[in-house]
């Protein structure tokens, strides 16, 4: 009988520790990205040479180099842990994707982890060529006519890569190839959250394609949520 109790106790401890490991324990870093100053006015895009795309935009769209929201919110900023967590030992199984739709890249900024699969989709009735101008990784350039199936690619090294379609010169995107999957992209209100961070010291980096990058150090103890803000200086170039 005492022996059985002993087994039960061992089992109980095992179960408790299993739950502790399985639960996403730890704290969060969340906050907001804003700008100060006057951002450059985004230029309207003339898609008249590509009627199938122009038809998808009843009101003409503008370039997306700087996208802002109410309260000086800055969208499309990649916020990620640049120091304090180990690199992902293997890339996430789920691919990230980018879609060419209405002669725009959706989403405009695509974060991914080194060696994670990137799925490229053409939802348009026109040919695109997807051309990541990589410097650290390999530069490649592939044509994707309408109706062709998506293809996948991956990048072997961390890098921020400008992407363009040479056929439609207004189409620009950025691939952010990162070392770990603790990243977020600021939304329309500038908000972001980096969840599931075990207690420790971290460096958080915010990267914007036109305004460069900023870093902040945070220390997380227990399961607290630290709030930080990034303020970028708008360049009225």
């Amino acid at each position: 009988m005492p022996r059985n109790l002993g087994y039960a106790a061992v089992l109980g401890v095992l179960a408790a520790s299993a739950i502790a490991f399985a639960l996403p324990s730890g704290g969060n870093v969340s906050g907001k990205v804003t700008y100060e100053g006057t951002p450059a006015r985004q230029k309207p895009i003339d898609m008249s040479k590509e009627p199938s795309c122009a038809a998808q935009h009843p009101t003409p769209i503008t370039t997306e180099t700087v996208v802002t929201g109410p309260g000086n919110a800055l969208e499309n900023v990649v916020v990620y842990i640049s120091a304090g967590v180990p690199d992902d030992s293997k890339p996430p199984a789920q691919p990230v994707s980018i879609t060419q739709k209405g002669c725009q890249y959706v989403p405009h900024v695509v974060p991914m982890v080194v060696n994670q699969e990137l799925k490229v989709i053409n939802a348009d009735q026109t040919s695109h060529n997807i051309h990541p101008l990589a410097k650290v990784n390999h530069e490649w350039n592939k044509s994707q006519p309408p109706g062709t199936p998506p293809f996948t690619e991956k990048f072997e090294k961390p890098e921020f890569i400008p992407v363009k379609c040479n056929i439609h010169p207004w189409m620009h995107s950025s691939f952010a190839v990162l070392k770990n999957s603790h990243y977020a992209v600021s939304s329309g209100d500038g908000g972001f959250t980096l969840p599931n961070l075990p207690p420790g010291k971290y460096t958080v980096t915010a990267w914007h394609e036109a305004y460069g990058e900023q870093t902040q150090d945070v220390t997380i103890s227990g399961s607290e949520t630290k709030t930080i803000t990034f303020v970028f200086k708008a360049k009225p170039y």
Binding site: N129, S143, P145
Partner: protein, 296 residues
């Protein structure tokens, strides 16, 4: 007195020689293999700093003194920036987009030169010289140390030339929207042509098929097949390997040849013998008189 000076000088030079050895060793180790020739980087280095560096630069980054980027206050001597060997991205390859070219590919580029650019043919050098140059060029980018050249794409045997093949190639030229850059008649004047820049942000023109018989990366139908199936890396020209089947690719080759209206190719001859083709080619030729009247 004089003697001791000489001695210390000799010692100094000896020290310089010894200290500079590690730098030389890394260059010497790179080799190239082209046919029966093995190229050595140390031999190629001598040739590079004699023939190539005026354009390609001391560091192989394409910033030689003959190159001035667009926007500088002097007119550039060169219309196209010389290849930046340090970037490890190459235009003419038999290998898929994003991969390193083979030694033979680099050797072909040096031997052939680049049409419509300042890069001449170096066929006057010996085979061994060119193999040595290929080996030395590979010392500028660290990519050559960490990875192998890509696997050359397979080019199936060219099917028999027929008018149907040319016609199908023409449909593909429309469908794949080659004309967006190369223009409806292949004159390099498509709607996107004026906006094109290479990967260094320098303006670049799409290839104009009407001006001659040579392509940027060769002269044969096989070369033409490889150009669009591998892409011209570092330029707006993408790879079509994932979207064009081999037999379709040959159809496109046959049609593209007919755009070379000043070159009497078998494709052009056959196309002109059909009613549709004859009308098309006639409308593409620039007409007019030597005095300039009636030019269209």
């Amino acid at each position: 007195m004089r003697k001791t000076n000489m001695k210390s000088m000799r010692l100094f030079f000896a020290a310089v020689m010894v200290l500079s050895v590690p730098a030389l060793v890394s260059a010497q180790q790179m080799e190239s293999h082209i046919g029966k020739h093995t190229g050595h980087a140390d031999a190629g280095k001598q040739l590079y700093y004699r023939y190539c560096w005026g354009c390609h630069g001391f560091r192989g980054d394409g910033n030689g003194e003959n190159w001035l980027p667009t926007g500088s206050f002097l007119e550039p001597y060169l219309n196209i920036q010389p290849r930046n060997f340090a970037a490890g991205t190459f235009k003419c390859r038999s290998t898929p987009t994003g991969t390193l070219p083979t030694d033979q590919d680099l050797n072909n580029s040096i031997t052939r030169g680049f049409v419509m650019s300042a890069m001449p043919s170096w066929i006057t050098l010996t085979d061994q010289n060119r193999a040595d140059l290929v080996a030395f060029i590979k010392t500028f980018s660290p990519r050559w140390k960490s990875e192998k050249a890509g696997e050359p794409i397979s080019v199936p045997a060219e099917p028999k030339l027929t008018a149907d093949s040319i016609k199908h190639g023409q449909e593909l030229f429309q469908k794949l929207e080659c004309w967006k850059c190369h223009g409806p008649e292949g004159r390099g004047d498509g709607p996107s042509a004026s906006t094109l820049t290479d990967s260094n942000d320098q303006p670049i023109r799409p290839y104009n098929f009407a001006v001659g018989s040579r392509f940027k990366c060769g002269v044969s139908n096989q070369d033409l097949y490889k150009i669009f199936m591998t892409g011209v890396d570092g330029t707006p020209m993408p790879s079509f390997a994932d979207v064009v089947k081999p037999d379709e690719a040959w159809d496109l080759v046959h049609f593209l040849r007919t755009l070379q209206v000043t070159h009497k190719s078998p494709e052009l001859t056959l196309w002109e013998s059909t009613k549709e083709g004859a009308e098309q080619v006639a409308s593409r030729r620039v007409g007019g008189t030597p005095t300039g009247s009636g030019i269209r």
